[in-house]
């Protein structure tokens, strides 16, 4: 597509008479080369004894010396173990099952270790409780080798020994225990039975102990609602695979909603089998991952979401509410409700609105529907934070009522909106200790930083769901002089057992019921049959329940806040049913209905798939991970709808070099202003709402390169993720590092093939997934037929022939595969500047395409009907503007491993060649860097090493220090400057599988072959295998009707298959 747009980099360029622009156009380099610095001083030049000839002599000599020295090989030392551990064989990987539980991410994982070093996180296939490892969990292994980690316990500015720290702290604690001042434990959600037990022992010993659980991103409302209804603090669990109709009101359940991990189940229901798939309707304000996957997405502002819920409740359960909503939303709600009713128990409703009433309404609807996808009996335990307790704590700290505060896994000075109050309170305490991996915002303010180990160096246990337990075990000896919080607690309570023994004891007594601890440790998970509930034993929880009186099942203060009590007096006649549950639901719905929309803009705070709550902000993989929706890395930003942006005078546009620029805006919430927040105009953002993500704007404990974005926690007043906001344009433009420039698909439906369930079920394949044809002797011939092929076919029927299948229906765009690929293949991090120059090195990218019409047919129709220049300008322009509510498709693209590869024919040195097994090989040592191959690749998947990215101070990421390089996979080369690289279809993994089979003398079973991405994909979207094995899953997928190849008409015959996306547009 050629564009007639005028591109410009700054406003100045639009001024035709500007002299600056004139100068800039003439000079490529804005600044003169600073020759004056070394040639300017004439005196010193003349007095120098080095003549030109001498200089040349030196140059010649040093060149000769250097080249001679280069001929001499270096002496390489090999140091074997003195005593080799029995389980380690150099060159062979060991796998350990463990669990990540950092307070935000909880998942059972398998850790791959080489020579004792953890190098990769994989999915634990034995664990079915929590979802598969997401992008952050995959990247967490790099956090172990973070060069900014604390190397030992610190008091003030100097290192002290653990003995001293323990002695000083326990002495102080003993002093305080009699003084009447509180001892506070402020921790992340551990969800750990052993830790709970340990903390209760700690309480017994020191008396006035208050344990406050604090989640940086709160789920308090949902927890309160669940607690009110089921008398237990937890979150209802959902299995979306059992749902036929899913209605979500602001619930980003494919993201981090209620702890995340729901995507596997969701994806299972999205693959059309026997003509059926789930229907997903999403009402939301920000364009979230979940909304992007929905069949129908209705943009609504946060305040409208409450009304939508109230309306939905009244339509599904009964009762009447009058809500003030635009007509199209009301229709959508009605349709959703009737669809829910029609599927009955196969429907499910979720919400992300942080409001007890909203959460109660959802519980009631699901209860009413008797939803099979909804499980209140085994609540999720991985969010236990209590906002009230945290607020109380800050107040008490300021009042000087807190004698000692011991923190673990939290960073309140970064994550609290009233961080200044907390910091002030901290100075009032007599003892403050932080267990922290880093000298971060909070730990630097406390008296002691107790260096904590990474989870890959720790023992631990987690109760993910009620009765579903997981164990955490160290996979490496601690790298530094660290001790975990629990070991210290044991020490301070005068218990001299190790935490490992303590866990073992707790498990044997309370959990295992006779099962083997070793087996549980081997599996990493244990599901108990009996109902064992671990009491939280926290004061926080106690206060939460004690402080509240219940009004019809919902909490009084909330109800009062929403004017519910008044409601209750006036409307009683509508209550048809007499069950208490229904009463609370109806009143909650009414409370929701009465909530008023704010006059101005509403801000929705959210977490990004890449950064989460910001714990891993110093992780270069995650910083460079492009957000699935905006495709922007290294930043957070204010997402604004097009109309609002226009009204506010905000812009975001692409400039000539392909980079994305955005205006700056000042964002004010409740008197707190964040200045210069970069703006991205987000298609699909509900008008009247803006979005900003948490996790950025860290200031302490991370490298300068990682100090990106703004800290949205400052606006997180009262732990409410929806805030009334005022936005004003600020000076200047922000330069983003965005990796995808496409605005819309422009009707080129053959990159993405998409259809609706109705067409898929009723029409022939040739209508919705036709093979392109070319004219051969005036006869239309499919491009796959050999007659129209330029190449001779090579016989690949013998041996293995690998294919990777990608199902666009199951792919949610979560990006776990992208990080898994980084870890497996030593993909370098290049930094923001380089990403902006389109020099990202990602072997696997997930393209995001918007389409502006309901179907591609409409786009194509529009394109076909363009006549004349005038029309084309306006119509193309119209299509280019992503619509207010675009449809979104995610498409993972890596090297397609074409059988007839265009890259191979143009390489002058035969550095890239084809293997019989279907893989396109790349011999890095042969490559001379002409980049012809990248030019000739229709899929743009080849990546060029513009620089040396390892051991180079210009790229100060993990590959620049010895510690960070420990994560590198020893089976894959670290590429050097000037060579081309690309996806190898994990040839190191396929070769290993083959070798293992050869050694055992057996055939290879289906499922043994895996690539890093297919193994990381918990959604079943990526399937890898051997198509010569006719019984394999991938061979069957190749014959599937939905199968197509990317840009099939080019005739490249790729070995990567895609499966047409089917949308369920059937409305009930």
């Amino acid at each position: 597509m050629s564009s007639n747009k005028k591109y410009w980099k700054s406003v100045e360029e639009l001024n035709e008479n500007s002299s600056i622009v004139e100068t800039l156009q003439q000079n490529e380099f804005v600044e003169e080369i600073p020759t004056d610095e070394f040639l300017g001083n004439k005196e010193s030049l003349e007095s120098s004894k080095t003549t030109r000839r001498d200089f040349l002599k030196y140059v010649g000599f040093s060149t000769a010396a250097a080249s001679l020295a280069a001929c001499e090989g270096p002496v390489i030392k090999s140091i074997p173990y003195v005593v080799q551990p029995v389980e380690i064989i150099p060159g062979v990987a060991n796998y350990y099952a463990t669990t990540i539980a950092d307070g935000f991410d909880f998942a059972s994982v398998l850790v791959k270790t080489r020579e004792g070093r953890p190098i990769k996180i994989e999915n634990n296939t034995l664990a079915t409780t929590s979802g598969s490892a997401n992008a952050r969990v995959n990247a967490s292994v790099l956090g172990l080798y973070d060069s900014m980690r604390m190397q030992g316990p610190v008091k003030g500015d100097s290192y002290i020994s653990w003995e001293d720290l323990n002695a000083e702290v326990s002495q102080k604690l003993t002093e305080l225990s009699g003084s009447g001042k509180q001892i506070v434990l402020l921790t992340q959600t551990f969800a750990s039975p052993s830790t709970s037990k340990l903390i209760s022992e700690f309480k017994q010993k020191y008396g006035n102990v208050n344990h406050v659980v604090y989640d940086a991103v709160s789920e308090s409302a949902a927890l309160d609602a669940y607690q009110a209804k089921y008398n237990e603090r937890g979150l209802a669990s959902y299995d979306f695979s059992k749902a036929e109709t899913i209605v979500s009101v602001g619930g980003d359940f494919l993201g981090d909603w209620q702890g995340g991990g729901f995507d596997s189940g969701y994806a299972a229901g999205r693959i059309p089998t026997k003509g059926k798939m789930s229907r997903h309707i999403q009402f939301e304000s920000n364009m979230s991952l979940t909304g992007a996957n929905a069949d129908k997405r209705v943009p609504v502002t946060p305040s409208q979401q409450k009304l939508v819920l109230a309306k939905l409740y009244s339509e599904v359960v009964g009762g009447s509410v009058s809500v003030d909503l635009p007509e199209h939303i009301l229709t959508a709600v009605s349709k959703a409700a009737s669809q829910l009713k029609s599927v009955g128990s196969k429907g499910v409703v979720v919400t992300g609105v942080q409001d007890v009433n909203a959460q109660t309404v959802v519980l009631e609807i699901n209860d009413y529907l008797n939803s099979k996808a909804f499980d209140a009996a085994t609540p999720i335990k991985i969010r236990q934070g209590n906002d009230k307790a945290v607020n109380t704590l800050v107040a008490e700290m300021k009042a000087g009522k807190v004698g000692a505060i011991i923190m673990s896994g939290v960073n309140p000075i970064y994550t609290l909106p009233n961080a200044a109050d907390f910091a002030e309170g901290l100075t009032q305490t007599e003892l403050s200790v932080t267990f922290s991996l880093k000298a971060d915002e909070t730990s630097t303010q406390t008296q002691y930083i107790a260096a904590a180990p990474h989870y890959l160096e720790s023992w631990g246990d987690v109760e993910l769901k009620k009765g579903h337990f997981a164990l955490m075990q160290p996979t490496i000896r601690p790298l530094f002089d660290t001790k975990q919080f629990q070991d210290a607690l044991l020490n301070w309570t005068g218990n001299d057992v190790s935490y490992h023994d303590y866990i073992k004891q707790t498990w044997n007594e309370n959990i295992l019921a006779g099962s083997s601890f070793s087996q549980a440790l081997h599996d990493g998970v244990f599901v108990s049959n009996g109902a064992i509930s671990t009491s939280n034993g926290t004061n926080a929880t106690a206060t939460a329940t004690d402080d509240k009186t219940f009004v019809g099942g919902i909490i009084e203060d909330v109800a009062t806040g929403l004017g519910l009590n008044k409601d209750k007096e006036t409307t009683t006649a509508t209550e048809q049913t007499t069950t208490t549950a229904s009463v609370s639901g109806a009143s909650a719905a009414r409370a929701l209905a009465s909530s008023t929309a704010s006059a101005g803009l509403e801000l929705s705070l959210y977490t990004k798939v890449g950064m989460g709550d910001g714990k891993q902000a110093n992780n270069p993989w995650l910083q460079e991970f492009p957000d699935p929706i905006t495709r922007t890395s290294w930043d957070n930003y204010l997402t604004v709808s097009k109309d609002d942006a226009k009204a506010l005078g905000l812009k975001s546009e692409h400039v000539a070099n392909g980079g994305l620029n955005g205006s700056y805006a000042n964002v004010t919430v409740n008197g707190t202003t964040i200045e210069n927040v970069p703006v991205i105009i987000q298609p699909g953002q509900a008008k009247g709402s803006v979005g900003l993500s948490f996790g950025y704007g860290r200031t302490t404990g991370l490298k300068n390169e990682m100090k990106t974005g703004v800290n949205a926690y400052k606006l997180y007043h009262n732990f409410n993720n929806v805030q009334d906001v005022s936005v004003s344009a600020a000076q200047g433009m922000h330069e983003f590092a965005s990796v995808q420039l496409h605005n819309t698909l422009m009707g080129r439906g053959d990159i993405i093939k998409e259809t609706t369930l109705e067409i898929f079920n009723t029409k022939d394949k040739s209508e919705w997934n036709a093979i392109p044809v070319v004219s051969l002797n005036h006869v239309e011939t499919p491009v796959t037929s050999p007659e129209v092929d330029l190449w001779d076919e090579y016989d690949r029927t013998i041996g293995h022939h690998f294919n990777l299948s990608i199902d666009l229906n199951a792919c949610t765009g979560c990006g776990a595969c992208v990080i898994a690929c980084h870890a497996e293949n030593n993909v370098p991090v290049v930094g923001k500047e380089e990403v902006r120059k389109s020099r990202d090195m990602h072997w696997l990218r997930i393209d995001r395409y918007y389409s502006s019409e309901e179907s591609f047919a409409e786009d194509i129709e529009k394109k076909e009907n363009i006549s004349g220049l005038g029309s084309s300008l306006s119509e193309f322009g119209e299509m280019e503007h992503a619509s207010d509510n675009p449809q979104v498709v995610f498409q993972p693209v890596m090297c397609q491993h074409c059988n007839h590869a265009p890259c191979e024919t143009v390489c002058p040195v035969a550095a890239t060649s084809h293997g019989r097994q279907g893989q396109n090989h790349m011999a890095y040592n042969r490559c001379v860097g002409t980049r012809y191959c990248a030019n000739n690749c229709p899929y743009k998947v080849r990546r060029f090493n513009w620089f040396l990215y390892s051991e180079n101070d210009e790229f100060d990421y993990h590959m620049n220090d010895d510690l960070g390089r420990m994560v590198l996979n020893p089976d894959v080369v670290v590429r050097s400057r000037g060579v081309m690289e690309k996806c190898s279809m994990c040839i190191q993994k396929t070769q290993k599988t083959i070798l293992d089979a050869k050694r055992d003398g057996r055939e290879i079973k289906d499922g043994e072959f895996q690539t890093a991405c297919s193994a990381a994909c918990g959604n079943g979207a990526m399937v890898f295998g051997d198509i010569n094995d006719k019984d394999s899953k991938v061979a069957k997928l190749l014959e599937d009707n939905r199968m197509y190849h990317l840009l099939e008409y080019v005739g490249t015959e790729p070995n990567v298959q895609y499966h047409t996306k089917v949308r369920n547009t059937t409305e009930a």
Partner: protein, 429 residues
């Protein structure tokens, strides 16, 4: 392999001794033993833990019977009981038995109920022998002289040759002078004709110059190419190692299987340098080399010193027979270095293909100091892949592939190259 044969050997000796006992031992208490038989019994049964003159796992046994009788007043009956079942002696409450048991770290001596009284007498007779007189220094110096003699003889021959040539040259000069004198006497004119000097003639002959230049260019091209091609090829690289480990002694003289120490070659991409605890499996008891191991170049003292280096590194106190815990990892110099862009897997070649280690590493069992035998260049790899047939027999993985591929190529047996062993991506990723 070696271990198995050893075990058999031991069992055979046991059997033999049993037969021997059954046939010969008739008297209940034979007072006099045969030291020769005793020696073989000692080596078969006792030598793993006892030396005659050195404390090892168990005490030194020279004159043990005499010592016990003198110091503790214990007789041969006590000794026999101890040997046949020491733990029962300890249990019986014998004070000295308990003392010995404690002294040696509570490690009970293996019971030898199969030893007859005659056997015990034989062994005791062997232990009662006097230690051989220390080897005379004279013999050592004698061998030294012999070696120096051979050195001298070489020099003499060279000197004689030099003398001979000098004499010849002098003789020729004399002959010439004499002939000149004759010519002078006979008035023959011997003015030498001064022709064109050779170099001038050479320069004038343009054809010759051209040929020479072409030859020189070709030659220099050849040598330059040769030089360039050997850059980075370290064939024959023979670095000095921190511990003089002789593969000749271990793999050659003692016939230890390569994979006994380099066990990871079977399952891993690396063959693995054995960790020091592997060395100590044997070297706990092998604290010195045999006299016969010493060569002209390396004396017994030298080899024993190298074993001491091992003990220092692994932190083994030979005197106390226990680990001190102070270790010092050995920094071996790596000999075979593949560049990191080439992937090589030992197990593929060793376990799957069944290739002998010597195919690539050369006659390791003859190398006193290991050197790189093969060039380890890509051409060398490729040639082998072209020539070597894939070992498909009894390997279910290959059954189907081999059947189809061999039909396709029309060959009986497939080479590694035909199996795809020349593809770039198989080794470069």
């Amino acid at each position: 392999m070696k271990q198995v044969s050893n075990r058999k050997l031991g069992r055979n000796i046991l059997k033999l001794s049993l037969i021997f006992i059954l046939t010969i031992s008739t008297s209940i208490f034979a007072q006099e033993g045969d030291p020769a038989k005793g020696k073989s019994l000692f080596n078969a049964n006792c030598a793993a833990c006892h030396k005659l003159d050195k404390k090892m796992t168990g005490p030194a046994l020279r004159h043990i019977e005499q010592k016990l009788a003198d110091e503790q007043g214990l007789d041969r009956a006590w000794l026999a009981a101890w040997i046949r079942n020491s733990s029962s002696v300890i249990k019986s409450g014998d004070a000295y038995a308990a003392k010995i048991y404690d002294e040696y770290g509570g490690a009970a001596m293996t019971a030898f109920p199969q030893l007859s009284d005659q056997d015990i007498s034989d062994i005791l007779a062997y232990t009662a022998e006097e230690a051989p007189a220390p080897v005379e220094v004279a013999t050592a110096s004698g061998t030294g002289q012999a070696s120096s003699e051979s050195g001298i003889s070489n020099k003499i021959i060279l000197g004689a040759l030099a003398l001979l040539f000098a004499l010849l040259a002098m003789a020729l000069l004399l002959v010439r002078r004499t002939l000149n004198r004759f010519a002078e006497a006979k008035n023959v004119d011997v003015t030498e004709t001064k022709g064109v000097p050779i170099w001038k003639a050479f320069v004038q002959n343009q054809f010759l110059v051209l040929v020479t230049v072409i030859f020189l260019l070709l030659a220099s091209g050849y040598y330059l190419y040769g030089y360039m091609m050997q850059i980075g090829v370290d064939q024959g690289y023979q670095p000095v190692q921190p511990i003089h480990f002789s593969h000749k002694i271990h793999a050659g003289d003692n016939g230890i299987d390569c994979k006994f120490c380099h066990s990871s070659a079977r399952v891993s991409k690396t063959s693995g340098i054995p960790s020091l605890n592997v060395c100590m499996n044997c070297h706990k008891s092998v604290y010195e080399v045999a006299e016969t191991t010493a060569t002209e170049e390396y004396s017994k003292e030298f080899y024993d010193g190298e074993i001491k280096k091992l003990y220092d590194a692994v932190g083994w106190s030979d005197a106390d027979q226990k680990y001190t815990g102070e270790t010092q990892p050995v920094k071996w110099v790596r000999i075979h270095n593949l560049p990191d862009f080439a992937y090589f897997n030992h197990s593929q070649h060793v376990s799957v293909a069944g290739i002998e280690c010597q195919t690539c590493h050369g006659p390791i069992e003859e190398m006193e100091i290991v050197s790189q035998y093969s060039p380890l260049t890509m051409g060398w790899c490729i040639n082998c892949h072209r020539d070597t047939n894939v070992k498909v027999k009894d390997n279910a993985y290959y059954t189907k592939i081999h059947e189809e591929l061999s039909k396709k190529y029309g060959v009986e047996e497939l080479t590694a190259a035909q199996m795809g062993g020349l593809e770039c991506g198989k080794c470069h990723y």
